[in-house]
């Protein structure tokens, strides 16, 4: 989960990484703006880089200027984001800009500190053009990070004298923040040294491990909540999120009601391969409850773009009987008319089939648009059938 700059800087403050005094506003907030001493830099809060080039970082010398800059930036778009907040920091005299980050290197399965003596610019660009400027230092997850490593890293950045010590301090603290908050990324770009030999994290980027949030209640104290991280959510995505269902809207007309995420991704490929178009990505998670399964189904049925639903349940940790019961209850309660082409196989399949059969005998009219194939029909035949139905508009 990526954090906004102003959120990341709250973590920095907790670990005493030096950041500039700042205020965050979502408009002309008198009280906050009264705290400012000029000149200042006003920075749009967004998840994307390249804010400078996009005109989303501006300086202001006076109250009048700062107000006009705030009005100008807030509400602007930046890629998929609408700017809602700006961070206002004192403008400082920069002598040097550096780059520093800690990441997880998934090739090496280690923590990796990356530095560059040229900061404030696109680091990937530098890595391509001047790879010799980039230093990498690897650390095993089982080893305690030592002060000497921090000094060696600061030394590699060309720092010396008192700056070696304050630079090493920042490296040490950033690494500890990375560990302490279960980060996937903790980045300072640029790390600046001022004319008067002070060091500040001028920008801050943090990407947290969603799966470790349960052990960081302190994030809530810091006012940081779990959120969808990339792009704005559609209304349906918001509904799904509220129900704890990973869900992404796509452009097609076939609603995909799969088992796990991996097959959900494959199903989108296969639908495209056979000439159809998926309306969504969705994941049921490990062993969904019947209630969750009904909610998942509802998301698809209620989507006006969806012409047919492709469903697949291969019971592993999830059980076919739960799935069948959820389907039956949903159908009886909501009487959907959209065709559903499904396939059910795996653990507790027999019991699932019994549930479906009983319901169909009892409410034949409700199940006339629903087909549930078994393990003997290849999954891709079911997909092809769904595409045919979606195009025809009926079974």
């Amino acid at each position: 989960m990526r954090l906004y700059e102003f959120e990341a800087k709250r973590l920095f403050r907790r670990f005493r990484i030096p950041v500039l005094d700042a205020v965050v506003v979502d408009g002309i907030n008198e009280e906050e703006l009264n705290k400012i001493t000029y000149p200042v830099v006003v920075k749009a809060q967004t998840f994307l880089g390249g804010r400078g080039k996009a005109g989303l970082i501006k300086t202001a010398e006076t109250r009048q200027e700062v107000e006009s800059v705030i009005k100008e930036i807030i509400g602007e778009s930046h890629g998929p984001y609408r700017i809602e907040k700006v961070l206002i920091e004192k403008k400082i005299d920069i002598a040097k800009e550096l780059y520093l980050s800690v990441i997880i290197d998934r090739l090496e399965h280690k923590f990796c500190v990356i530095t560059c003596s040229r900061g404030g610019v696109d680091i990937e660009e530098i890595a391509r053009q001047s790879p010799e400027l980039i230093h990498k230092y690897y650390f095993n997850a089982s080893v305690r990070f030592s002060q000497f490593s921090a000094r060696t890293i600061a030394n590699g950045l060309g720092l010396s004298g008192s700056m070696l010590k304050s630079g090493a301090e920042v490296v040490y603290k950033l690494f500890n923040l990375f560990i302490g908050f279960d980060c996937k990324l903790a980045e300072i770009n640029p790390l600046v040294i001022t004319q008067d030999k002070k060091i500040y994290a001028l920008d801050a980027k943090v990407d947290l491990d969603e799966d470790a949030m349960f052990r960081h209640p302190e994030l809530k104290e810091l006012g940081i909540q779990t959120r969808h991280e990339i792009g704005e959510l559609t209304e349906r995505e918001k509904l799904a999120k509220a129900a704890g269902i990973p869900y992404v809207d796509l452009d097609g007309d076939i609603g995909v009601f799969p088992g796990g995420a991996g097959f959900g991704i494959a199903a989108i490929d296969l639908i495209k391969h056979y000439g159809g178009s998926a309306a969504n990505f969705m994941d049921s998670g490990g062993a969904p409850t019947q209630e969750k399964l009904r909610k998942m189904l509802g998301l698809l049925i209620d989507n006006p773009k969806v012409k047919a639903i492709f469903g697949a349940r291969f019971g592993g940790i999830s059980r076919c009987d739960d799935w069948a019961k959820a389907l039956v209850q949903y159908v009886i309660e909501n009487r959907p008319e959209k065709p559903m082409i499904m396939r059910m196989a795996g653990n507790m399949e027999e019991e699932g089939r019994r549930v479906l059969k009983e319901a169909k005998e009892k409410h034949p009219e409700l199940f006339k648009n629903i087909k549930v194939y078994s393990v003997t029909t290849p999954i891709e035949e079911v997909i092809k059938e769904t595409i045919r139905v979606a195009k025809a508009g009926r079974i």
Binding site: A261, I317, E349, E380
Partner: protein
């Protein structure tokens, strides 16, 4: 023959008293898997499906020193500790069903496992099966049949559909291994390919990967060295870039994690790329002819 587990393998179940674990313990026993004990701290002395529960892995292994495999079903916050406990007690293969284990925890666990020569499979794996011999995890028995194809996949459901496609076309599996869907895994494609290459009961391998991570790319060079054919299926070709699709392992990250990058790396090293599941049997047949 088969890899990792066979009809002689003794296993234990960590977190056995949980809802899913106790349910699947019954299914595993029904399949013939030799489960000798379970572990749930504080529930020592109870029984699940006739299997004795112990408070610690150490105590369990003192009573059942022949157990070499453990499956871990505990909640994610306890997974690291449970895996380390299994490693410390002397278990040789840990099958981690638990999903969404914190990334830092798995990095730590991987190091301890490698140091002690222990294979950790998962997290977020459906487990593995050597059809007709043993099943550790929660794979649906119905779809797997004894045979001479090894399969290895990241996604659980794809593991099942692979076997289903193979079986409908007359093939069966020596062993099917689910690597797991979490972003940091214990065993990876390369580890399993090594075992299949050395297994006399395996004629060919089907591997199924998906966007995100780098495990497919990392395995590619070894495929070139293999004597057995490898068919690869990669999911996520149609996934929109930058959209987060479900589990964290499926985030498209950099150039290395894309479906394109994986397909190119695998193909360049001699893997046969399958576009659909249903064409896999035909691709195998041609290479094994």
């Amino acid at each position: 023959m088969s890899i990792i587990i066979d009809e002689h393998t003794r296993t234990i179940v960590q977190g056995i008293t949980g809802r899913n674990a106790s349910f699947h313990t019954k299914l595993m026993l029904g399949y013939g898997t030799k489960i000798v004990g379970g572990v749930t701290p504080g529930k020592g002395g109870e029984e699940v499906a006739g299997i004795r529960v112990y408070d610690t892995v150490k105590e369990c292994l003192q009573k059942h020193p022949d157990a070499t495999v453990s499956s871990v079903w505990v909640p994610p916050g306890f997974a690291r500790d449970a895996i380390l406990e299994a490693i410390d007690a002397g278990i040789k293969t840990v099958v981690v069903i638990t999903e969404r284990i914190p990334v830092h925890d798995m990095l730590y666990v991987r190091e301890c496992a490698r140091e002690k020569g222990v294979m950790v499979i998962g997290g977020n794996t459906p487990g593995l099966i050597s059809p007709g011999k043993s099943l550790v995890g929660m794979l649906p028995r119905i779809t797997f049949k004894p045979g001479r194809i090894g399969t290895v996949a990241r996604s659980g459901a794809i593991t099942y559909y692979l076997a289903n496609s193979l079986n409908l076309a007359g093939f069966g599996e020596s062993t099917s291994v689910g690597l797991g869907g979490d972003p940091i895994l214990g065993a990876n494609f390369e580890d399993i390919l090594h075992l299949f290459e050395a297994d006399p009961a395996t004629d060919a391998v089907v591997m199924a990967g998906e966007i995100g991570g780098v495990y497919e790319e990392l395995a590619a060079p070894f495929i070139k060295k293999m004597t057995k054919p490898v068919v690869a299926f990669i999911a996520g070709k149609a996934a929109p870039q930058g959209k987060r699709l479900g589990h964290a392992g499926a985030i498209v990250e950099g150039e290395m994690g894309t479906a394109q990058s994986k397909i190119e790396a695998l193909s360049a090293n001699g893997a046969i790329i399958a576009q659909t599941l249903s064409e896999i049997p035909e691709l195998l047949r041609r290479r094994l002819a």
